[in-house]
């Protein structure tokens, strides 16, 4: 349960951080390759979940992008270990696959795609005029984005965060392949359901499922209420 809350929260934060600039870029600018990026962002949504997990497993362990270019080099897994290894406590190594970072990455791959879509729609609905006025008043692009666009997009940000969070909680296929379902190590609620079913404990699976439903409902209600409060502040 703790691991689920932790990984979902990290995934939601990362997804929003990535979705804000990419959603803005896709909404406001026309550039060469935009259609390709747009299509690539949909891949995690349309691919079968197990294939997403398998792709991550291969990318991080067997085939880093530079290998396709014929360049020898360490895999992402080895690089991650080299960078974070010295900072890890005694007895813990800094790997990705079949460890907590793999859970987060597996959740992030799909959740971020949804968050980007949400943010792009949000920016599409915000007129660029206010931003242009901010530019004439002395803002640079980054200042106009932070001071004018982000506050106006705040409800979209909370929607994207919630969507990413709940999506991350329900993710299973990529986690199964990339992080495994190791009891007490990479076990999140969705994988608990699978583990309970696999040992024939249907009752346990139902209890965990109900917990997931309850958490999702609580999160949705909380965000809706918070959204309503912020809308009141927005209007008054």
């Amino acid at each position: 349960m703790k691991l689920t809350l932790f990984t979902c929260t990290v995934t939601a934060l990362l997804s929003v951080m990535v979705a804000l600039p990419i959603g803005y870029l896709l909404s406001r600018y026309d550039f060469r390759g935009k259609a390709l990026i747009d299509a690539v962002l949909d891949i995690p949504i349309v691919l079968p979940p197990l294939v997403v997990g398998l792709s991550l497993l291969i990318l991080f362990n067997k085939m880093p992008p530079w290998e396709w270019l014929g360049i020898d080099g360490p895999s992402f897994e080895e690089m991650f270990g080299k960078i974070f290894g010295p900072f890890m406590p005694e007895g813990m190594d800094a790997g990705i696959t079949y460890k907590v970072p793999a859970v987060i990455l597996a959740q992030f791959t799909v959740a971020a795609a949804f968050a980007v879509r949400t943010m792009r729609n949000t920016f599409d609905q915000i007129s660029p005029r206010a931003e242009q006025v901010a530019l004439t008043l002395g803002c640079n692009r980054a200042q106009a984005f932070i001071r004018v666009v982000v506050p106006e997009a705040w409800r979209g940000v909370s929607t994207a965060g919630t969507l990413a969070w709940t999506r991350a909680m329900g993710e299973f296929g990529p986690i199964l392949v990339f992080a495994g379902t190791i009891r007490g190590r990479t076990e999140v609620l969705s994988s608990s359901v699978f583990l309970e079913i696999s040992i024939g404990n249907l009752e346990g699976a139902v209890i965990v499922s109900l917990m997931m439903v309850s958490i999702a409902v609580v999160v949705l209600i909380a965000v809706r209420m918070w959204g309503r409060e912020s809308r009141k502040k927005f209007v008054l």
Binding site: S127, R129, Q132, A134, T136, L137, G138, N140, R147, P151
Partner: protein
């Protein structure tokens, strides 16, 4: 003075070429023309919001063609006001001075002074939602004037106002612009509005700019 020489601007597939005109210092130039003929594109190029393909834009004797929008010293009032939805009227008026690094005291002095001049003292703590069309345009005008620009560009600022509010706003814009010696470029579709406010009139037709004088 606003001086535009042989200006070419491209906006997607749309392109305007070889536009030249001048609005002398302290005068109110009005740009008219059919919808979609490129009036707003010209205004945006002058404000630094559209990239210029070729030609030159000179504001108060300074070549600003390649400067970014914030360095041109122009106040911009768009068609719908485009107020910042999350800010109070006070915050909107203080926005420009704040971005340009004015001192707190200076801002605290400037905002009420401007609010009084534009008759919006009573709505300083309100947010844009629920403001009337006239109030929105006054706030948009105030936000543009807050940093004391020498030039102001207005893109159909009064098109959504009822007749009574329209007349009041025309008078307000006219008096504020004259009083502060601001050079203005104003886009409108209204012949009457142009007659009331213009020192110089320009018509954009079939990609050509024709200058006319107010009779």
């Amino acid at each position: 003075m606003i001086a535009v020489e042989q200006l070419s601007v491209r906006a997607g597939d749309f392109c305007i070429d070889g536009i030249s005109f001048e609005v002398p210092t302290g005068e109110h130039g009005v740009l008219m023309g059919k919808t979609g003929c490129g009036k707003t594109t010209i205004l945006e190029a002058i404000c630094g919001l559209k990239e210029v393909v070729s030609g030159r834009i000179t504001l108060m004797g300074r070549d600003v063609t390649r400067l970014r929008a914030g360095e041109r010293g122009i106040g911009f009032v768009p068609q719908d006001g485009a107020l910042f939805a999350t800010m109070t009227v006070r915050q909107q008026l203080a926005f420009g001075p704040k971005v340009q690094g004015w001192g707190k005291k200076e801002i605290e002095q400037r905002v009420p002074e401007l609010a009084e001049e534009l008759g919006i003292e009573d709505i300083l703590e309100r947010k844009p939602f629920g403001l009337s069309g006239g109030e929105r345009q006054r706030v948009a005008l105030g936000r543009a004037l807050a940093v004391r620009p020498k030039i102001i560009c207005l893109d159909e600022p009064l098109s959504a106002l009822d007749e009574e509010t329209h007349e009041g706003m025309v008078e307000l814009i006219r008096s504020v612009v004259k009083e502060h010696g601001i050079t203005a470029l104003h886009i409108t579709h209204s012949r009457r509005e142009a007659d009331l406010i213009a020192d110089k009139e320009f018509f954009l037709e079939d990609g050509k700019l024709v200058q006319g004088r107010v009779e």
